[in-house]
């Protein structure tokens, strides 16, 4: 049981690192493509027709993947002023209520994005000819990952509660 748990934890950690570096790579790719566009336009007078479309698609992906990583690391924008003043039990209850609400919201968004995904499979982008789904599915995947990582945050707050009670 312990070994399985250890393996799962390791997998989870690798997945997080993988997503982090994937989002870093996407940022580098976006930067490279925009710089290439500027150079191509002003030095060779030949801007690629995909100059806006491709960076934009990568932008959707990086936004939702990075949000998932931020969720996992607890780096989302939030105010903890009230939480810090609560008792361990109060904090646990409030934190976990909020995590549950976020999980429900994220899964709702993922569920309701599915009709758009199906529609996106049948339509195509103008300049690249890629199916529109490549720009829609990041929302679905990102929300599912965020919901999953919120579960991790719930486990973390239970852990913190136990430690606070033990002190």
């Amino acid at each position: 049981m312990d070994a399985t748990l250890q393996t799962l934890r390791r997998l989870d950690r690798w997945a997080e690192i993988g997503l982090y570096y994937l989002s870093a790579l996407l940022i580098l790719l976006i930067t490279g493509l925009v710089i290439y566009t500027v150079v191509a336009r002003y030095f060779f007078n030949a801007a690629p027709i995909w100059s806006e479309e491709v960076p934009r698609v990568l932008f959707y992906w990086v936004t939702f993947i990075a949000c998932a990583v931020a969720t996992k690391r607890g780096q989302n924008l939030r105010v903890t002023l009230v939480l810090e003043r609560l008792s361990p039990t109060g904090r646990l209850l409030l934190e976990n209520t909020m995590h549950v609400l976020v999980i429900i919201m994220a899964l709702l968004i993922a569920y309701y994005s599915w009709p758009l995904v199906r529609l996106g499979m049948r339509t195509h982008m103008l300049s690249t000819g890629w199916p529109n789904v490549v720009g829609i599915i990041p929302v679905t995947i990102g929300c599912v990952m965020m919901a999953f990582y919120q579960l991790g945050l719930m486990a973390k707050s239970v852990d913190e509660y136990r430690k606070a009670r033990a002190r």
Binding site: I27, V38, A70, Y112
Partner: protein, 433 residues
């Protein structure tokens, strides 16, 4: 009724600690559910929410935000913050105000590089707060100085907030950048004088005067970083690049600076900076996406008309209305984060004031300055939180020390609001419509 629910849910959830993007999403979903339960004259489908999550990001201009964040991260990784602090230190450290005014000056210089108040507060705070504490400045005061000084970041170009505002209200980002220059200088001078006065009255220490050689060395060291805003703004204003391309030029310039000039960048540092950028911009963009849905729902709930009617019932004098808009933004700024406020209020206020002859560029600077003041007012003042985390002091204790700066910034706000020439002179000359 639904409008009140929408606003209250965001404020309450944000204050009790829900992630801000999700607090906004929760309000929107609550609104949509209520429309589906027949509490409104028509039903809003949930699929629209999912669609808006993506559509909220569907603008090429918004791509400038991660790129500017990346340029700022690379500057930090190249050791630019330390260089800027050194430049500021040799310039003003020996005068009354000492390291506190070094903080004000360093933030002013940094603002031409990063474009984000929170990033500037974190970068200069990490370097200066421990140093100021060692010299005998109370940590609450050191934090207050840096938190307040960093508010100049988004006013001086390049500015992430101006890029976003330009995208929402379709105003030239180049003109907004230029309009921020003079107000930014006024903010800097005002905060410098406030610090000078406080430090003199409280007898805070000053630094030893730098030698001529130290001054030359610091200036030479910081010169290339100081050229960054000129290149970025120049490329956008000169029509060579769009804001997004200008941001990419900023990244390219920073890479050259880090690898060739300072030789302090490594491939690993670039990858780490890209990762940090992805997370920072991802968090910003999620807030932007949910705020756009919120703004759309607010418009559907006739928030624009209700607000306009209410404002016009008080006065039809444009200057009174501008003052009223300031009060609304300041009050909201104490309870909400700047992105949702901007995304909600901009589509309402800009058409109203444009109809009254107020230049959108002028209103844009006024709006951003209001929101910056919100960053040093509790309970939700991001700069205060950043500095509280660095100095391990309480948010309200820091705010108490920041009160003189709050008053100073309010005076600057009044000046910028009622003397449009201060914002419009430079864009009118350099980039006429």
């Amino acid at each position: 009724m639904l409008l009140i629910v929408l606003i209250l849910v965001v404020i309450v959830l944000s204050i009790i600690g829900m992630e801000i993007a999700w607090a906004i999403a929760m309000a929107c979903l609550a609104f949509i559910f209520m429309t589906q339960m027949g509490w409104w004259d028509r039903e809003i489908p949930l699929v629209l929410f999912a669609q808006s999550m993506r559509e909220g990001l569907n603008s090429f201009v918004l791509l400038a935000i991660p790129l500017f964040v990346f340029a700022g991260e690379l500057m930090n990784a190249s050791g630019v913050t330390h260089r800027m602090v050194r430049v500021a230190s040799v310039l003003v450290g020996h005068r009354s105000g000492g390291l506190a005014n070094v903080g004000v000056t360093a933030n002013f210089i940094m603002s031409g590089v990063s474009g984000s108040a929170v990033a500037d507060a974190a970068a200069t705070g990490t370097v200066l707060v421990p140093e100021m504490t060692k010299r005998g400045f109370p940590p609450t005061f050191s934090s207050a100085v840096i938190a307040s000084a960093a508010t100049v970041g988004p006013i001086i170009p390049p500015s992430l907030v101006f890029v976003l505002l330009g995208a929402i209200v379709e105003v030239s980002v180049g003109r907004l950048f230029l309009a921020g220059v003079l107000p930014g200088v006024i903010m800097f001078v005002a905060m410098f004088l406030t610090t000078w006065w406080i430090c003199r009255a409280r007898g805070f220490p000053v630094e030893p005067r730098a030698t001529r050689q130290e001054k030359v060395s610091a200036a030479f060291d910081g010169l290339f970083a100081l050229l960054a805003p000129i290149i970025i703004v120049g490329s956008i204003v000169g029509g060579v690049a769009t804001p997004t391309e200008g941001a990419a030029v900023a990244v390219a310039y920073t890479l050259v600076l880090g690898f060739v000039v300072y030789r302090s960048l490594t491939i690993k540092a670039v990858i780490e900076a890209a990762g940090a950028t992805a997370i920072a911009s991802g968090v910003i963009m999620l807030t932007v996406a949910t705020s756009q849905i919120f703004a759309w729902l607010a418009v559907q709930a006739r928030m624009g008309e209700i607000l306009t009617e209410w404002m016009l019932s008080i006065s039809d004098n444009v200057w009174v209305l501008l003052g009223l808009a300031n009060i609304i933004m300041l009050v909201l700024g104490t309870f909400m984060e700047l992105l949702p406020i901007m995304l909600i209020l901009a589509p309402i206020l800009f058409p109203l004031f444009a109809g009254m002859g107020i230049d959108p560029v002028h209103l844009g600077v006024v709006m951003v300055l209001n929101l910056m003041i919100g960053m040093i007012t509790p309970p939700i003042g991001l700069n205060l939180f950043v500095l509280a985390a660095i100095s391990k002091q309480g948010v309200f204790e820091i705010f108490r020390e920041a009160l003189p700066y709050f008053v100073t910034l309010m005076i600057v706000l009044a000046l910028i609001t009622y003397v449009p020439m201060l914002t419009l002179t430079i864009p009118t000359f350099v980039m006429p419509k």
